[in-house]
Assembly symmetry: C2
Homo-oligomer: 558 residues x 2
């Protein structure tokens, strides 16, 4: 049996090596368009920045090493240009010479990945992209001697490349057409990353459309000309389904190859895996494009298992992701609030601002966490985190909880490894569960940062229960101030009507709301407190956002 | 209604503050024997070492601050010495004066914690313990001017104190009666911690019984006299159930107070929480003593919820734990292999030696992970990890997976946040799932390090499939060497009979076993490879254990 695999990176090579482990006798041919297989595609931006110094570190395997270890016939610089499904034959072009030949298969696995999108803008053809080792070589060469760079697009690659070009000493502008980078996340979770990019000297241009790419400039719709010795296009990728489509394989509404839960395309002899295929969303089952290496690897392995007759099935995707930006971590799993709102789904949002470990142990780093919950079922719909150490851990725990079908309230009871070096006796994830229980049990009602103005316009009074010093240093305009520890004795001073209570991070506001409710007052708590409000998009950049809170003092010694 | 709480640290104070949030009108009295409430008990060893410089950092709250914020009546230096359940009255002694008074309650919550055990050895009464702030002051005072210290007992506290006394510049011996520290974990997972302690100058005495504590010495059973300006007893704790027992409340087989799932004792007006109560084990439901801060906090809150009429129930415990030792992390959840063996339960064990993030990104740190699996149901029975950064994250993810009822094979499909800075495209947790699937599907058979000698004695041949250079530098005695990449061509050189294959960490051994099996040879893989074998207890201390592996090269680019 001959199995031919198109694409020799994550999904394709996972399929190839797994197939060999399952079948010592099969003939396995891997075709790779670029000059390299099994390269570290997620590491490419870091080689541009010199963080990964040696180019050779990106090259995890060679055709020779894969031949020796796995008996694979790996052919680089070979592009599959046509697929004749009737005769089970590929037409393969040698990239260097243009010479073509036919290659028959018994089973075909397509793992072509995704193609960078270039915006249809004059001059954009001179923009570089970053998809493979050859692209990386081009970027590294272009950067040598350059003084300025413009990165177009604020997704994963754009942000990683912008940081790395700063590491190379260039003046870097990052141009993003929408109002925020990292589009799938909610704006108040991304704002700290905007701030960090600016702190490190990136000229961040949000809501800016590129109108032209010149010789050494990039023109924006507002008339700005940005200096640009180097231009890098990173506005996104689309599934590379050209070959599949031309061969009449079914593609889906998002442009990806359609596969069933066994990774089989509409042709039973053809499988497809990785960035080129449409996945099923874990929340609503809708077609989803998730271009992530772990999913590609898993699918490659599963396709091999199916071919070998094992009983496996592909899983739906949460789209868990993480990106590091100048030491800040931004991570996410499941749906965002804006996606839920756009879909018209009911949700409740919870924001917290915990530290990664006990505050009394030196070196604690802050983070913001956001959880989205189904108010009917208490299911976890999504989570986002931004901050220092430990963000990735909490998102991983929540992603695992979602996969395990845990309800949000169950997060309170998770037994997570605690010592003051690693967490808190009530871990940030536990706290999300505790807060959710308070909502579920009707102990508190909250409003979100984007709902505050409407409430105040409708006549509610904003009550800051932080200390007078905090109130003065970091005010939300229009609020009155009675600190929590004197609230009981000063209840008589409160004006009539609905109260919106807030503190720094949300805990004291919750405590105050409990006091007020038990004294017959209607009070809602501003979710996430001042810190979440201060991270709203479009805020004055001079506002203070760095201050901590005494969130956990009082009950969580350990 | 008056609610009296005995014990003002984790569980007790969680109960008190939660009660106030649920009931603004209740009278809440907290009695604390020591002079401090809500202190950071898990931080005490680090103040001894000066890592937490300020003593005040340990004192998270005062009676005054708790009075102002929560309206609590907090009485420190007050010990509950007798409980008359018929009249619902406590006898309370003022520690400083001995004066006693009666205190009535409507509801009583016992949260007295656990008491350090002192081994019955002559002179042991002069050993210090570390349980509260006063103990800490004593240790800090004793350490000033001291040159040598002996810590008796290698559990959490003993290990943390030993490290911190080294930070203080003392010559430190750590004496442990059994063959390993951190008794609940398996020996090969603890061995790297033994090595680290010795590297940092701790005189580690395993299998050593203390026979006497002298003026400035500690005598061991083998006749050794250890210099000991300071002696600290940390051989464990027992539930502080004296008051409960004297009052006729039911206690359990492990000596803790018996409570139902609502934290109610055998008296419906008396609740008990925290280290003093017996929990139910998550795996088999047996009574379990788990003295951990997160469980104490959770129980305190749940008891308050029950009292306030909310519908909650206590959960069983996994006993997830973590300890840091000179930069090394040792973490665990669920059952160990030795506990499973002692209970006669079937299991399979999986050892891996991954890096915390992509090896091609600078700064990757290695770890050892161990997973224990029910071979019938594929349930996750337990996990342990030891190493650098990222160990706590993996144990937390696995603890969450257990709580969510995920099977081991499901770990392969978990979507964990991946970028080269944070993990691998196949995360270490995913790899455990992949390996488990290979076992489940009969693709490989492994043996454990402690089964190797028996196999070899029975005539099996040990085959090292690493490179000749690795074989020579780090041999397992008696093995022959054919490197994996030449195995297919050299099959004819192999002797007859069963083969035990091994490599450095287990992956290449698995690949070789697949090749051999498909060529009709019976081959079992040494689980965890050389690295796990080299961490076996009693090994020659000069053996090399630090070498890495190329575990993930080949199929998990990303």
């Amino acid at each position: 049996m001959r199995i031919v695999i198109v694409g020799g990176v994550a999904g394709g090579m996972s399929a190839a090596t797994r197939l060999r482990r399952l079948d010592e006798d099969a003939e396995i041919v891997v075709l790779e368009r670029s000059g390299h297989v099994s390269f570290a595609n997620c590491g490419l931006p870091y080689h541009v920045g010199g963080v990964i110094e040696e180019r050779s570190a990106l090259l995890l395997q060679t055709p020779q090493s894969l031949g020796a270890r796995f008996g694979l016939d790996v052919r680089v610089g070979r592009e599959a240009v046509a697929l004749d499904r009737a005769s089970r034959t590929l037409r393969v072009r040698e990239v260097a010479t243009g010479a073509e030949e036919e290659l028959g298969y018994d089973v075909l696995i397509l793992s072509p990945g995704a193609t960078p999108v270039r915006p249809p803008v004059p001059g954009m053809e001179r923009a570089l992209v970053l998809r493979d080792v050859e692209d990386t070589d081009e970027v590294v060469a272009a950067v040598a001697g350059a003084r300025s760079a413009v990165v177009v697009g604020g997704g994963f690659i754009g942000v990683e490349v912008a940081e790395n070009l700063v590491h190379r000493g260039l003046d870097v502008a990052l141009v993003e057409a929408t109002g925020q980078i990292m589009a799938p996340l909610d704006p108040e979770m991304v704002e700290p990353v905007h701030a960090r990019l600016r702190e490190r000297g990136v000229d961040l241009r949000l809501g800016s459309a590129v109108t032209a790419v010149g010789e050494r400039t990039v023109s924006l719709a507002d008339g700005t000309e940005l200096p640009a010795d180097v231009v890098l296009a990173a506005v996104g990728v689309r599934p590379d389904s050209t070959l599949a489509r031309a061969a009449g394989l079914e593609t889906g509404p998002r442009g990806g190859i359609v596969v069933d839960e066994h990774l089989r395309t509409s042709d039973p002899h053809v499988f497809a895996v990785g960035d080129a295929v449409e996945k099923r969303d874990a929340l609503d089952g809708s077609p989803s494009l998730v271009a992530l290496a772990n999913t590609a690897n898993l699918q490659g392995r599963l396709a091999a298992d199916v071919i070998a007759g094992l009983d496996v099935a592909d899983r739906p995707v949460l789209g868990t992701s993480v990106v590091g930006v100048f030491g800040l971590t931004l991570a996410s799993t499941g749906w965002s609030e804006k996606r839920l709102r756009a879909a018209g789904r009911a949700y409740r949002a919870i924001h917290t601002h915990p530290a990664n470990h006990a505050g009394y142990y030196p070196g604690a780093e802050g983070m913001a966490l956001k959880l989205l919950v189904d108010p009917e079922t208490d299911a976890i719909l999504g989570a986002q985190g931004v901050g220092g150490a430990g963000v990735d851990k909490r998102i991983d725990v929540i992603a695992t909880a979602i996969t395990g079908g845990l309800r949000t309230a169950d997060l309170a009871e998770l037994e997570l490894a605690y010592s003051p070096l690693y967490g808190s006796a009530k871990d940030p994830v536990n706290m999300l569960g505790y807060i959710d229980r308070n909502h579920r049990d009707g102990l508190v009602e909250t409003i979100q940062w984007h709902e505050l103005q409407d409430r105040l316009d409708a006549g509610a009074v904003l009550l800051d229960v932080r200390t007078p010093a905090e109130h003065e240093a970091m005010p939300i305009p229009g609020g009155i101030n009675i600190e929590l520890d004197r609230l009981r004795e000063r209840l008589g001073e409160l004006p009539e009507g609905e109260l919106v209570v807030h503190c720094q991070a949300g805990l004291r506001g919750y405590l105050a709301a409990r006091v007020l409710a038990q004294h017959g007052r209607r009070a809602v708590n501003l979710d996430g407190g001042y810190l979440t409000w201060a991270a709203r998009p479009g805020r004055d950049e001079d506002e203070t956002t760095a201050a901590g809170d005494d969130t956990d003092r009082g009950s969580s010694a350990g």
